[in-house]
């Protein structure tokens, strides 16, 4: 299979291509050991002391399940390096709204990551709602992304970030009426 070389370059995709994921996903701080970059579940992250969360010797990111609210993160957005929004199933669309709110409404500047059932057919939606990185395991998706085949359309009706570099607006503002 042609996807084997890509895996050797890592499974974290961004518009620059694949790279190794610097983060270790752990259920608890203890489990992460001395890893320099960790992603913890929201409930665990919420239980951490401020000085642990903001320690300069390592990065601690947060993983948010579809049923969890992003509300408790809002006060700390400046200091969170990565928020991983989960897609336990490709058709659970709650994380799209959270991405939109984090990036557009709350100007989250850190890395916004999609994890879980990340399939090629949803990649464009993810980029357009503001995801920066995708954690990919599905083999067809790995191959397609490696080929830069984003399964995208050249134009969109809505303004969006990500999949298009040109700043968008609404279609009816882009094209003068006949």
């Amino acid at each position: 299979m042609s996807d084997i070389p890509q895996i050797s370059h890592g499974d974290l995709w961004s518009r620059e291509g694949f790279r190794e994921d610097p983060y270790v996903v752990a259920e608890t701080l203890e489990e992460a050991g001395d890893a320099p970059a960790i992603i913890l579940p929201l409930a665990v992250w919420l239980g951490l002391e401020d000085e642990v969360r903001n320690a300069t010797n390592r990065k601690i990111g947060v993983s948010v399940a579809p049923g969890e609210s992003i509300e408790p993160l809002l006060a700390s957005l400046d200091t969170i390096p990565v928020i991983a929004l989960q897609f336990p199933a490709f058709n659970d669309g709650r994380s799209y709204s959270k991405a939109e709110m984090l990036k557009n409404q709350h100007q989250f500047k850190g890395e916004l990551r999609a994890v879980g059932d990340v399939l090629i057919d949803q990649v464009a939606y993810m980029l357009r709602t503001g995801f920066d990185t995708l954690k990919v395991s599905h083999s067809v998706t790995l191959t397609r992304l490696a080929d830069h085949n984003l399964h995208d359309t050249p134009v969109y009706y809505q303004p969006g970030r990500g999949s298009r570099s040109a700043p968008g607006t609404y279609s009816w503002r882009r094209v003068p009426s006949a």
Binding site: S97, E100, V140, S171
Partner: protein, 556 residues
């Protein structure tokens, strides 16, 4: 009407290419049926009992002659020579092969059509009053707003994986012909005291196994806030709608479980955040879309009235058709013609390729090149000069399209039912056909007056039985098809869900049962002016139940 610009063309053709690729991957086994399913659904491809079915979007039910001819062409070349117009103003092909789907979509794209978002858990084809832009009673044309919503919702990045499908309907008249109160969002375009346009916003209506009338959460939303407010509703729903149970996933359940007041509070809070963003619609945006829907310039044809009087006198059948199927137009020299797709004993909503071609020809010559599809599964010629009614009628007659039954007891809505649908428990079409035959005599129908019968072959209620004046629901009980009757439903501005009468009737009994109800109505109405629905609202279910069940008991 709306014409695609280069933007729409680029979008639709790219989507066709995407779907071609998806079909190829499915046929190659790269995609499992589970993974392919949501993708084919977003392109309008269903898997039915016997074959794949393609549902073509007809935005707000508006078609040009060229588009109608293309639909006929596809029916002829890729299907079995007919198509089925649906209650969402769409068209379904029942027999296309999966391998042909990309070709069919290419054909559609060549006339600015597609099958996007006619299924799947996304925002579906936006519907509107089928008399929009023509009806005499209209405050403003709802289609520009439906078109704005169509563009905004097409492949929406945030709202393409909702808990469940999402349906929006818009009307621009007090008389609600678009059934907005049984939609996820219903928008009633109206003017406030100072003459500005805005919307009354209804949320959480729907049929299915838990029928609910929508709640009004805004009495007047300025037009400029249409998209920000809609986005707020969608976001609250996307985040909080239930995903644990597909039968409780529609927004009506969220509204019900959250409470209208609390849900409104959440929507308004989100709206405050979104109000001043680029979702705001400045007047020039609305004007840009409005210009596509400029009313056609209709020449004065005052001679029509005397001609009409003479033609009516000469031909009683024509006269009945005019009474029943022609509705007042904004322009007094014109009328809005309903083409019934309910011939006596026929399949509601079906049209052959030849019929589609004929309607296209008539529309081109006599209706400003415009055709509408109604949610009642009929076609509409929106701008016909009174002077041309006779010739239009004669042309319609040539291919069985002049049935004078719009709004009458044989103008039945029926879902495809067990004859086609994988979800159905019972057949709908044969019941509709038998009822139509029983009441088919013109004098009898005319005497009974306005009466809407709606038939669904399962609890999903695609045949809108909950809002039928007489609703019929097919269920399966111990391997037999059984039909439950409900009475007093209505999908118009005074929206009500019908009351179930009691135990169901077998396929053999159901037509007699309907006749029993109709006979009782004729007995107890105050006069011919009192419609079935008005009578039911006055007397309630008791006299009808009495007739149904005591007679049945007597017969047993």
């Amino acid at each position: 009407m709306y014409r695609y610009d280069e933007f729409d063309h680029a979008f639709v053709s790219a989507r066709v290419d995407q779907f071609k690729d998806q079909v190829e991957r499915r046929l190659a086994g790269e995609l499992s049926e589970d993974q392919f399913r949501p993708l084919r659904l977003m392109n309008g491809v269903y898997l039915q009992l016997h074959a794949y079915m393609l549902r073509v979007a007809i935005p707000y039910g508006t078609l040009s002659s060229r588009q109608m001819r293309k639909l006929a062409y596809i029916a002829r070349h890729y299907d079995r020579g007919y198509g089925h117009f649906t209650t969402r103003q769409n068209l379904q092909y029942n027999w296309p092969a999966l391998k042909d789907m990309p070709k069919v979509l290419d054909e559609l794209a060549s006339v600015e059509m597609h099958a996007l978002q006619t299924s799947g858990n996304c925002i579906r084809n936006v519907t509107a009053d089928h008399f929009a832009g023509a009806a005499a009673d209209e405050v403003a044309d709802p289609r520009p707003y439906a078109e704005i919503l169509r563009q905004w919702s097409s492949m929406h990045p945030e709202f393409s994986y909702l808990p469940r499908k999402f349906k929006i309907a818009v009307t621009g008249a007090e008389r609600d012909r678009a059934a907005i109160q049984v939609h996820d969002i219903g928008l009633h375009l109206k003017k406030n005291a100072t003459g500005e346009l805005g919307f009354a916003v209804y949320v959480g209506g729907g049929q299915g196994r838990t029928p609910m009338v929508a709640k009004k959460i805004r009495d007047f939303l300025p037009v400029e806030d249409l998209l920000s407010y809609t986005t707020a509703i969608m976001r609250v729903y996307n985040l909080n709608g239930r995903r644990d149970n597909k039968y409780k996933a529609r927004i009506k359940i969220l509204v019900h479980e959250t409470g209208t007041e609390e849900l409104t509070r959440q929507v308004e809070a989100e709206f405050r955040v979104l109000k001043e963003t680029d979702l705001k619609l400045p007047q020039q945006d609305v004007d840009a879309i409005d210009s596509y829907f400029a009313p056609p310039s209709l020449p004065l044809r005052p001679e029509g009235w005397s001609e009409l009087a003479a033609a009516r006198k000469a031909d009683h059948s024509f006269s009945i058709w005019v009474d029943q199927n022609v509705t007042p137009h904004k322009n007094p020299d014109y009328g809005v013609v309903t083409i019934s797709l309910k011939p006596i004993g026929g399949i509601p909503g079906d049209a052959t390729d030849a019929q589609m071609d004929l309607v296209a020809d008539i529309a081109e010559k006599f209706s400003q090149d415009e055709i509408r599809v109604s949610h009642e599964q009929n076609l509409v010629l929106p701008h016909v000069a009174i002077a041309d009614l006779r010739i239009v009628y004669d042309l319609l007659l040539t291919d069985g399209l002049a049935t004078a039954n719009a709004g009458l007891i044989t103008d039945i809505i029926a879902c495809p039912g067990l004859d086609y649908c994988a979800l159905a428990n019972a057949r709908s079409i044969p019941v509709a056909q038998r009822i139509s035959e029983r009441f088919g005599k013109p004098e009898r129908q005319s005497d009974i007056g306005e009466l809407k019968i709606k038939i669904s072959g399962c609890i999903n209620a695609c045949g809108h039985h909950h809002v039928g004046h007489i609703g019929i629901l097919g269920v399966e009980k111990k391997g037999e098809e059984l039909y439950q009757i409900s009475l007093g439903g209505s999908g118009d501005e005074i929206c009500t869900i019908g009351d179930i009468t009691g135990r169901g009737f077998s396929s053999e009994e159901i037509v007699d049962a309907v006749e029993t109800i109709v006979d009782r109505y004729l007995d107890i109405r105050t006069d011919k002016e009192e419609t079935f629905l008005a009578t039911y609202r006055r007397v309630g279910a008791a006299p009808f139940k009495d007739a149904l069940y005591s007679e049945a008991a007597n017969a047993a």
